[in-house]
Symmetry: C2
Subunit: 454 residues, 2 copies
């Protein structure tokens, strides 16, 4: 089945076969309402069975109830089954120490996979548009993406049974809205979409319109770049799958031959023979090193990779024998091998955790904490510091009367002792305004958004 | 020789050997003055022999004379030889049908290569900084770059003898200026740097500062992205060098075996066996197609590549048998081969040249004309149209009294008859405001900047 041309929107339904049950993820916003109307319209022609799947995130109170009602009534009017899933996002975010955005997304996709696994649907359609794609690519660029980060939103995600797909990924948001207006179909506006505090919304409402001044085709070109980057990433991944088994060696060599891995819990190490890395192209060397660190749970940034390449003697200067890359990752060089070691967080490495200075407003990648931190403020203010805890730190939690010692906070949050020394904390003007997983009483003019580095 | 750490600026002098004669390209601006002072300072320590090379472009009148004097006096004060090269950029631009920026750059680099070829210098150093790199990458992104376009300014360019290098590519512009202030060294400001009409200057003075709000490290991350993209590009190029000889076939197959090329002057064709393209990863397929078109002098854009991939049957839908990609390039498919043909511009293809609509202000890539066109205006105005000439078109040239028929203009510019049908023209509100190579009397509020697609 190819693109639909009888409609004002040309959407990609290649992946569909007659008889398939498609659950359309519908929030009630314009994009997903258009998706549902389109799929409903196409259902007979393509022999697909459509339902509307709605997640109530338990965040936006009455507005969320309104969206759920709206979506349910829309499904009924179109004669489609309505599937509703209620979750407690704030509780989940607190328990998993995730941001609200992460928690909402994780809960949503967990349910989608559940719909697929249980056989209720054969595929889940989400309503991401070309504008979402452009925003994603631009956001990654602003954060400092590698080429692989530019691959953006993937058109299809495989699940253990069925798949999740985005048929509107080639369509502009403006086309979606004009399609709905032509139909006389209304939709719900999500009030958080307007909130310029979130980087994503600033990119959507301020930056992309400003950039369209330089190039009216920019959104489409960002989407093209995502396609190119995605294809290249597939290629690199296939190359790495071929190369890594012979390049990465576990543990350390032992007398008499063979290799021994550490028996310390939480520790792990991998070694790379420097002479096997040397003949590879620099682009591949860098990817091999990143893949090795990723196996130890660490995302290397550009500078860390450069330090590892220098340790191997591939760059000028005397190669270092040891580098502390982060609280959890150390690199050591022997004459033959470059070894990456994941250490216990309370080891000596924790003491050498870097402090990051962050402009306010500003955004920073803090690989040592595995964090991407963005601080917004209405005006330029003194910089903030992201750092590990210090004895004497005191934090005022929300809904508590007095500042608490850090130890108390850690106990209250049930954070294991081993993780405490490298737990990230943000200090601004002598006050701790954010701490991972804690509900800090932030009386400063700063809004802090933290996301884990993927 | 490794990076210099005794100075406030750490610059890359790896490529230098004692005894080398380095000509520093000095315009008189901050970056190049810092470059000259640094090299002069380092000359004894590194055993290099430094001179100052200055190009007087014959554009900015008294300001340019002032810069030449300033640079000459600076060289004298530092006890360095001063090499001056005077060119007539406007005349060269007119003769070569280039923009002033292109002509200036081409003349400058031609002289640098001349200095190397004649043995006057062993290397030429230019003063590009990390900020120039970030601007270049961002500019390419805004224009709609492929990953390969993101490789930005290269640290070293080989020449037939010697090389051109950029030792300040890791240094921020602000560092350069504070270095000069510490030395009490002044410099010349180039008035065209302030002119927000040029996209490049808008990126420098408006866009990059705005983006630093999202991420203060953006410039450095753009520079990192350039390094990564450059390494990946080397890799792809090596892969293509390996693959292309067996993939690209000249001409057409003839009865009895073998292949025959066209004997028409200006025509050329290349064929690719579809079954040999099929096993390649999509990222490589796309690069093979682009490399094939590049051999015929054409830069394929994303959509053109997508059309070729569809012709090969690698995308959904019935594959087309023939596609007119531009005025000069046609693709045809036989059951076995995809063939690219460069045609005479006056052929049927010229008639099917597309018209491009360009938002004002705005920027567009027009691969059919091999052009990148940017239109600036103080406010949003009706769109302009980039198109091929039509009979009846009249153009008012500067310094002439009446509008002229197109034929007269072509004769005056000595444009061969074969090229006229596909000669690019920009129309706005019924008036022709720009034409390649012509000195059009533009009374509109539009400023037009055209650059060839590389």
């Amino acid at each position: 089945m190819s693109a639909v041309s009888t409609l004002p929107l040309s959407i990609d339904l290649q992946a569909l076969r007659p008889g398939m049950r498609i659950a359309a993820a519908v929030s009630g916003g314009a994009d997903s309402v258009a998706l549902l109307r389109l799929l409903a319209h196409l259902s007979r022609e393509h022999g697909i069975v459509v339902s509307a799947a709605h997640v109530h995130h338990g965040i936006r109170g009455e507005e969320a109830d309104r969206d759920a009602d709206f979506t349910s009534r829309l499904a009924a009017r179109l004669g489609l089954p309505f599937l509703r899933h209620d979750v407690d996002t704030p509780a989940h975010a607190a328990a998993q120490r995730e941001t609200m955005e992460e928690a909402a997304r994780n809960l949503r996709y967990a349910w989608f996979r559940q719909l697929l696994d249980s056989g209720i649907a054969d595929a889940v359609a989400t309503a991401h548009t070309l504008d979402d794609q452009a925003e994603t690519v631009l956001h990654r660029l602003l954060r400092g993406a590698w080429t692989e980060g530019l691959s953006g939103i993937h058109p299809t995600l495989a699940a253990s049974r069925g798949f999740i797909f985005r048929p509107l990924l080639g369509v502009r948001r403006a086309q979606v809205e004009s399609y709905l207006r032509d139909l006389g179909q209304d939709w719900c506006e999500d009030s958080t979409n307007r909130d310029a505090v979130y980087t994503r919304n600033r990119i959507r409402h301020q930056l992309l319109p400003a950039l369209a001044d330089y190039n009216p085709q920019l959104a489409r070109q960002m989407a093209n770049l995502a396609t190119i980057a995605r294809d290249e990433e597939h290629y690199w991944q296939a190359e790495l799958d071929r190369l890594l088994p012979s390049l990465l060696l576990p543990g350390k060599p032992v007398r008499g031959g063979g290799r021994a891995a550490s028996t310390q819990p939480g520790e792990a190490s991998l070694a790379i023979e420097i002479e096997r890395l040397r003949p590879l192209a620099p682009a591949l060397r860098r990817r091999v090193l990143r893949a090795a660190a990723r196996r130890l749970g660490h995302a290397l940034d550009f500078d860390q990779t450069a330090r590892l390449l220098a340790m191997c003697g591939f760059e000028s200067g005397a190669p270092a024998r040891r580098e502390v890359l982060s609280a959890q990752l150390i690199a050591e060089r022997t004459p033959r091998e470059l070894r990456l070691l994941r250490t216990q967080p309370e080891s000596a490495a924790a003491a050498s955790l870097p402090e990051y200075t962050i402009a306010v407003p500003g955004e920073i990648l803090a690989p040592a904490f595995g964090l991407r931190l963005s601080i917004t403020a209405a005006e330029a203010l003194p910089a903030a510091t992201l750092r590990a805890p210090r004895s004497g730190d005191r934090i005022r939690l929300r809904y508590t009367s007095a500042p608490k010692r850090l130890k108390e906070v850690f106990e209250r949050l049930r954070i294991p002792a081993a993780e405490r020394a490298s737990w990230p904390i943000l200090e601004w003007q002598g006050q701790i305004v954010w701490m991972r997983g804690a509900d800090v009483e932030n009386t400063s003019p700063l809004t802090v958004l933290a996301e884990p580095l993927s």
